[in-house]
């Protein structure tokens, strides 16, 4: 193993530890939002894409229909499709390997893999990051879920406010241009306008959809 290999692994484990730890906030918010411990842990084990999981429990907490929540979550998960496309060539996997690796295609494993120069280092970054997050995310989800069940009411420790902060934390690194900021604010404004007149859950998917359309139609003159 070369020094570069080792540094890829150490960096990947660092990201894995930092990211996996968020699992505790997901678990606690999930069980105070009305899911039980089993449902919470199944989400982390089998869905395993943080932003989508937070979106689902956020919509459930606000009284939305679970299927609307799931569709919003899947739409948010569409970015993993594009991560897969940029990873596919660099990872160079055969059919069964793709099936076994797909579950680990998330924001962080992609970020730690696509910048590498060789297939070997791409794979090291992808698997060490993805699998270390997977273990810790699930462990911490369980810890948070059990704690959340004891807390009960999400308002007790301000966990209802934690959800908005979590979404903002996920959005923050994407607000790199005025175009992106405008799209986010427009999505927020349309969603708020719809809250009094539509069923819970719908304002998010409709507001988000309207903002995507605006973003596609209004192009900044200088492409970033």
């Amino acid at each position: 193993m070369t020094a570069t290999d080792r540094s890829v692994i150490v960096d990947s484990l660092g990201v894995g530890l930092a990211t996996g730890a968020y699992g505790v906030s997901f678990g606690a918010i999930s069980t105070t939002s009305g899911l039980d411990v089993l449902q919470t842990c199944v989400l982390s084990l089998l869905v395993f894409t943080g932003a989508s999981q937070f979106a689902f429990i956020g919509i459930i907490a606000s009284g939305g229909n679970p299927v609307t929540g799931a569709l919003t979550a899947v739409l948010l998960g569409s970015r993993n499709l594009f991560y897969g496309v940029s990873l596919a060539q660099k990872l160079d996997l055969n059919g069964p390997q793709r099936l076994g690796s797909a579950h680990f295609v998330i924001d962080e494993s992609t970020a730690m893999a696509v910048t590498r120069e060789t297939t070997r280092q791409t794979r090291l970054g992808f698997y060490w990051t993805g699998i270390s997050i997977f273990f810790l995310w699930n462990l911490m989800t369980y810890v948070g879920a059990v704690a959340g069940e004891k807390i009960g009411d999400p308002q007790t420790y301000g966990l209802d406010a934690a959800v908005g902060a979590a979404f903002l934390g996920l959005l923050w690194p994407r607000l790199t241009s005025w175009h992106a900021r405008l799209v986010a604010v427009f999505g927020a404004a349309v969603a708020l306008g719809l809250v009094p007149i539509t069923a819970a859950g719908l304002p998010i998917i409709l507001g988000g959809g309207a903002a995507v359309v605006l973003g596609m139609l209004w192009r900044p003159k200088v492409s970033a």
Binding site: V85, F167, G187
Partner: protein, 100 residues
């Protein structure tokens, strides 16, 4: 099966299908500039809407309460490059404290 489990199953199938399809489809299929733009916009737009509803909605009406203060605290800390977990914990604590 409850509606909650139905939603969970939809998510499991949908999210895995997207991940697997990304690794499997030929790159040129998704390489259209409009598709790439839409892919960048979807998370930004949905997260913007999610934040607004999470912070201001209360059973079909809009309200201002401790959740907004939590969001402001989160924004300040994120602008100071504080990591995710401390940001979330601080937002929760501030909201809990002002409710005392």
């Amino acid at each position: 099966m409850t509606a909650l489990w139905a939603g969970i199953v939809v998510m499991i199938v949908g999210c895995f299908a997207l991940k697997y399809a990304g690794l499997s489809v030929p790159e040129r299929v998704l390489n259209h500039p409009a598709t790439v733009r839409a892919a960048d916009l979807i998370p930004v737009a949905l997260l913007g809407a999610l934040i607004a509803v999470q912070v201001f909605a209360d059973d079909g009406s809009l309200t201002i309460d401790a959740r907004l203060l939590g969001l402001v605290v989160a924004a300040v800390l994120l602008s100071l490059r504080v990591p995710f977990l401390p940001v979330v914990v601080a937002a929760a604590l501030v909201a809990a404290l002002v409710r005392l």
